[in-house]
Subunit: 407 residues, 2 copies
């Protein structure tokens, strides 16, 4: 009965899979692990994983999980976390009803599903480069093209004029995706800057996807939410995450919020397919979301000190171009080297200063446009003050050694 | 400085968003809740949420989570869960190295990412209808077209011949996606049937995506894994989930396994964008995965009893077409009514038998082809034996009343 197979055809990976960039940091990470085994201490300035402990109520909530069956949560989220997110937003003067919120598996899922809800395959979404590198990944999964509008270190990566932004729009453009306070630059957009995005979105029929995961990390004045602009009530999507503000990256709890009922109902349909978000960790976030300042303030204050230190130290290193990031816990820094990928690798693989070196993220990964960011790195402030101080000394010595060697 | 907005353009949802089906069960669920408030007891035969308690080691693992910071896990999974999944598979004679495994947010994420890795927008994937309805959702998100090959209740939804399967293939076809033991039909494909899929995949250069979430629910003989077919080592992707076998639907822990290094590295790139899977719940699954029989056997034995009861009761109801599902905990049943969507709604909204009624899932949602499954429902065995018995009595009475009323 069985047929013999007379020909064998090979299989091949999808184009979106082949075109997806693998994280350049991952390659360096393996080298770094090998180097540590040789007795070299490496200061990690490359990662966004907070080093501070998670607030105790989240751990207590995990330890006291009281259900006998770990059941599916409703696809939009359990009632308690939905109500806690509503309170969280209200605390910042942002009014969302529970029916306008969807709990997601991290901010990552919120962004991916928002892209799928507003874009079809081949559509474009405006981003500002340098940009959170994973936006390119989410866009790749969703078959959407990120169209990059350049910003420059000279003005602290602030936004260009409306005219410049408009010049990147074509008939495929469906949305603007931005992050303020920004990963990777720490930039916070002013009211005037966000108003430009609002005007462009109104004029050209674009959705605005606003990634507000770093809301609390605002050192000069509050960061505005896109929800503060009532004109775009019908086209704004707020994306948020517990990860950074509460030092709980591993819980993977985010949220998506919109006053546009079609957006919410569409994303709910996507969410019904994936069933639900982890029950234990949804519930564990409730105490933090209900009293956000109490738990995020100490975290933010620590990062403010770190930012201040790094900025003042960077200013003293010859040839380094920097600025004062208004928020988040990153800075993109210009270095007096031609190729920061080579420099970052050399640091991890070869350099040492008193048995120590540093690991930085080359900035090319945050740019869509090839050849951009080649003399920039992103630093994350995930080390104690004294370790950051030490890292800046090592950076200064490394630049001296590298530039002497290459001359 | 600010420009005035002279025109306002409206925004619109993506086509993939508009075309996504919303779950038909959700509409009925709201009606059911209202009916319960009127004092009518409703037996839920519609849902796949296990009613049994979760095994105690998973709850103990949650309660004793010992880290101080809930950190990001590695994108492919934490070492302990990866090693536990390896052991889990080895227990069934399936050999995967940790490097061939990726821990996912439920089976849902595993399936979605597998589709993205092997298909581009507009590509097609073969499914057998009736099919797990969420496959259509994952395909929608991934911009992939599910091409449905019919199977029929008359032969218990077993597979057609190779020739028939081949007739659905065109130049867009990239993969076969199947589930055995099957949701929604409970069918387990024999070695000969899976061999047909293997032959077709070899001949036409297709990947095989095998959803093995119900592996343990095999009542007549063991369910085969696609990993038992060495010919397709380069093109088989095993998709699995803890949800059903361990009664832990809410943990959202699944896995993807493949010997094809390009598949694994591509999916890892997607996973790096979404960062990681919930840390607490990854770790909580380890004790169950390391000793699977101990925790799944009691669950499977309970469902065997329920299946046996439902099958013998269904045979006694006039006009009902059924079969004996070899696995899972569902059955698709043919009813002597024209439109099960109307019948199911009538049951929930109007009918009562001694103040009780039943909630069943109309089967149309499990078919891609319009007009198919209109006289079928899916029943899930999520109730205690006595409640299932009672449900079958209500079904018999309901059919009598419905068919009398419509005459």
């Amino acid at each position: 009965m069985e047929k013999t197979v007379d020909t064998v055809s090979s299989v091949s990976i999808s184009r979106r899979g082949r075109e997806m960039q693998s994280s350049p940091i991952r390659k360096l990470a393996a080298i770094a692990e090998a180097r540590k085994k040789k007795g070299i201490r490496i200061y990690h300035l490359n990662i966004g994983q907070p080093d501070l402990p998670s607030p105790s109520p989240v751990l207590e909530a995990v330890h006291s999980f009281s259900k006998k069956t770990i059941e599916y949560a409703p696809s939009n989220g359990l009632p308690e976390p939905l109500s806690a997110w509503k309170k969280y937003f209200a605390h910042f003067g942002i009014q969302f009803d529970e029916s306008e919120l969807i709990v997601t598996t991290g901010g990552s899922e919120a962004i991916t599903l928002a892209l799928c809800a507003v874009c079809d395959a081949g559509d474009e979404v405006l981003v500002f480069e340098p940009s959170y590198a994973n936006y390119f990944g989410f866009a790749g999964i969703a078959n959407v093209k990120p169209k990059a509008i350049p910003t420059t270190i000279e003005n602290g990566f602030h936004l260009p004029s409306e005219d410049v932004i408009e010049s990147y729009i074509n008939e495929k453009t469906k949305a603007i995706l931005y992050c303020s306070p920004s990963n990777p630059s720490g930039t916070i957009y002013s009211r005037d800057e966000i108003q430009r995005l609002v005007n462009v979105a109104m004029k050209h029929g674009l959705f605005i996807l606003s990634d507000e995961a770093y809301r609390e990390f605002a050192y000069e004045s509050n960061a505005l939410s896109i929800a503060d602009f009532p004109e775009v009530r019908d086209r704004a999507i707020v994306l948020d995450s517990c990860s950074k503000k509460f030092n709980v990256c591993g819980v993977r709890i985010g949220v998506l919020a919109s006053h546009n009922k079609d957006v919410v109902s569409t994303i709910l349909k996507f969410c019904q397919a994936r069933l639900s978000v982890a029950t234990v960790e949804q519930l564990a976030m409730v105490p933090l979301l209900e009293d956000p300042d109490k738990y995020s303030n100490p975290i933010v204050e620590e990062f403010r000190k770190r930012r201040d230190l790094v900025c003042s130290e960077l200013k003293e290193i010859p040839g380094v171009v920097s600025y004062k990031p208004e928020g988040a816990f990153y800075i993109v820094v210009g270095l007096p080297v031609k190729d920061t990928e080579h420099f970052a690798r050399w640091l991890v693989e070869e350099f040492e200063y008193e048995k120590e070196t540093i690991f930085m993220a080359p900035a090319q990964g945050f740019y869509v446009t090839p050849g951009k960011g080649t003399n920039e790195v992103r630093l994350a402030f995930m080390l104690k003050i004294e370790d950051l101080k030490r890292s800046m000394i090592i950076l200064r010595e490394a630049l001296k050694a590298y530039n002497t060697a290459s001359r």
